[in-house]
Amino acid sequence: MNIEILDLHHTYPGGVKALNGITLTIAPGEQVAIVGQNGAGKTTLVKHLNGLLLPTSGSVSIGGWDTTQYPVAKLASRVGYVFQNPDEQLFTRTVYQEVAFGPKNLGYEKEKVEALVEDALTLTELTAQKETNPYDLSPTWRKMVALASIIAMDTPIVVLDEPTTGQDAANIARMGRVIASLRKRGKTIITITHDIDFCAENFERVIALAQGGVLLDGPANQVLGQEEILAQTYVDPPQITRLGLRLGLPEIVCTQEQFLRVYKKLASSRAEGL
């Protein structure tokens, strides 16, 4: 399901101009990270994908549906949105009910709802917490519940707003595993993140926003090595990429594996006096 964004502008009531003409196409099954300065328009942009915000001018279409022509409830069958702050979306008494709420509202039959909920709970490693009240879980796990409740809706497009905020290494790794599973299922995943190392390790395409426009858009290796341009939107390249740049490696590296492969080749060619 294609996402087509055409010359999108958005001005908030009160006059703050958040988006200034964004044009983007995102193909089915792409894994896209959106990075950029606080206030660059990242959240404003993704809130257009399920109709929470409508364009001031320009258009957004999801698999041929113009978002101005379909209600949010209808768009919810195509785009799942996980909020930055889970407390803005959790409201039922048990984890199970929370996760079942979405698929039930999409009108699925009981058996299908059950199967979707079980699957989402397994994927997010929450099966043991089915009967727990979401608010008895730590903020970290509440974030997982919020994610599970979106996965259970089985939408072709999943939007994650800052999935690693305040998470420790173990939870970030778990988030990476969930994203990898969704990718295998062919889902389109769009993630806003400031965790640029996480971005380098889990996403193939990176879009850098600045002042409501697209600054850079391309494969992770191309975008994340542009130190000076990224600085315009307050983003540093990933740690591994910066190390590669400092050492003058012959290609841009984003992950530990890439770094070691290139570094090893260089070290051995130097040793051979080449």
């Binding site: 300065q37 660059a40 930055q84 800052e162 420790d168 290494a169 400031h194 983003v235 190390l243 051995s268």
Partner: protein, 292 residues
């Protein structure tokens, strides 16, 4: 007596069985910049609440041991005495912003109003604080119209303006862009150099290594390690417990296994250390070639 003095501190939230902090002993000198690392659930936020008087004055539960800051003992003082010395920036800025003010400027003045600072001085201090954290351009916006990272800067500024002697920060940059994060660490470092004592709970190891004087690793409510950033952040005692490493440490550790990291050299935490180690290891490879 040390400026911050925790002796044998144990704390249990109401209606829970297990203490979240157990037998914590921690002494911090005035002007020190101490970072606290630990996996989620280790007790970092609880320790921040204890230092800032929220425990026991707001959160009830059972607190034992001694908690002293600037010579005052927490249970023997009131919260309004305590706030004159200690400021806390919350992890989630939504929970800190007062909801009573229409502009960022007024929000930042809120604490000063409450302690009765004269109007002219108040304005001047707010101006200075806005300048310091780089949010002058947000002064007339509503705190609720801001992005998460911008709100976090407002939350931090509204504490800095109080000029507390002890600044307690609970993941103050979790929603900030990367360069913004580095800037905030720089501001905090500057405050420490002017004599403010800083205790900061954080996951961002690279910046801790660069800016903090000392690192405490908290695990399951106890202090696991306490020392210089370079020692604590590369310790194998952190392995398998959910502590985050800097990518420099993890890539060097992997390189070490493959014989690509100089023998006997400490693993790096910062970019400079990683660069130095990897450059050295390349020139050794060249020397090896020369000797052959």
């Amino acid at each position: 007596m040390p400026f911050v003095n925790l002796q044998n501190v144990t704390y249990k939230y109401p209606l829970t069985d297990k203490p979240v902090l157990e037998n914590i002993d921690l002494q911090v000198e005035e002007g020190e910049f101490v970072a606290i690392i630990g996996p989620n659930g280790a007790g970092k936020s609880t320790l921040c609440y204890t230092l800032s008087g929220f425990i026991p004055h707001f959160y009830k539960g059972e607190l034992s041991g001694r908690v002293e800051v600037a010579g005052l003992e927490t249970r023997q003082s009131t919260l309004d005495e305590w706030v004159l010395n200690v400021g806390l920036a919350f992890q989630n800025p939504f929970n800190q912003i007062s909801g009573a003010k229409y502009t960022v400027f007024e929000e930042i003045a809120f604490g000063l109003e409450n302690i009765g600072v004269p109007r002219d001085e108040m304005k001047e201090r707010v101006e200075r604080a806005l300048e310091m954290t780089g949010i002058r351009d947000l002064a007339d916006r509503s705190p609720y119209s801001l992005s998460g990272g911008q709100q976090q800067r407002v939350a931090l500024t509204s504490i800095l303006v109080m000029e507390p002697r002890l600044l307690v920060l609970d993941e103050p940059t979790s929603q900030m862009d990367p360069i913004g994060t580095r800037e905030v660490f720089g501001v905090v470092r500057k405050m420490a150099e002017r004599g403010m004592t800083v205790i900061l709970a954080e996951h961002k190891v690279e910046w801790i290594a660069q800016f903090a004087d000392r690192v405490i690793a908290l695990y399951e409510g106890r202090i696991l390690l306490d020392g210089k950033p370079g020692q604590v952040l590369t310790s194998e005692l952190l392995d398998g417990k959910g502590f985050g490493l800097s990518r420099y440490t993890s890539v060097a550790r992997e390189a070490q296994k493959q014989g690509l990291w100089p023998k006997g050299r400490r693993l790096p935490v910062t970019l400079d250390e990683a660069e130095a180690g990897f450059s050295l290891s390349r020139s050794r490879a060249r020397q090896g070639e020369g000797a052959a």
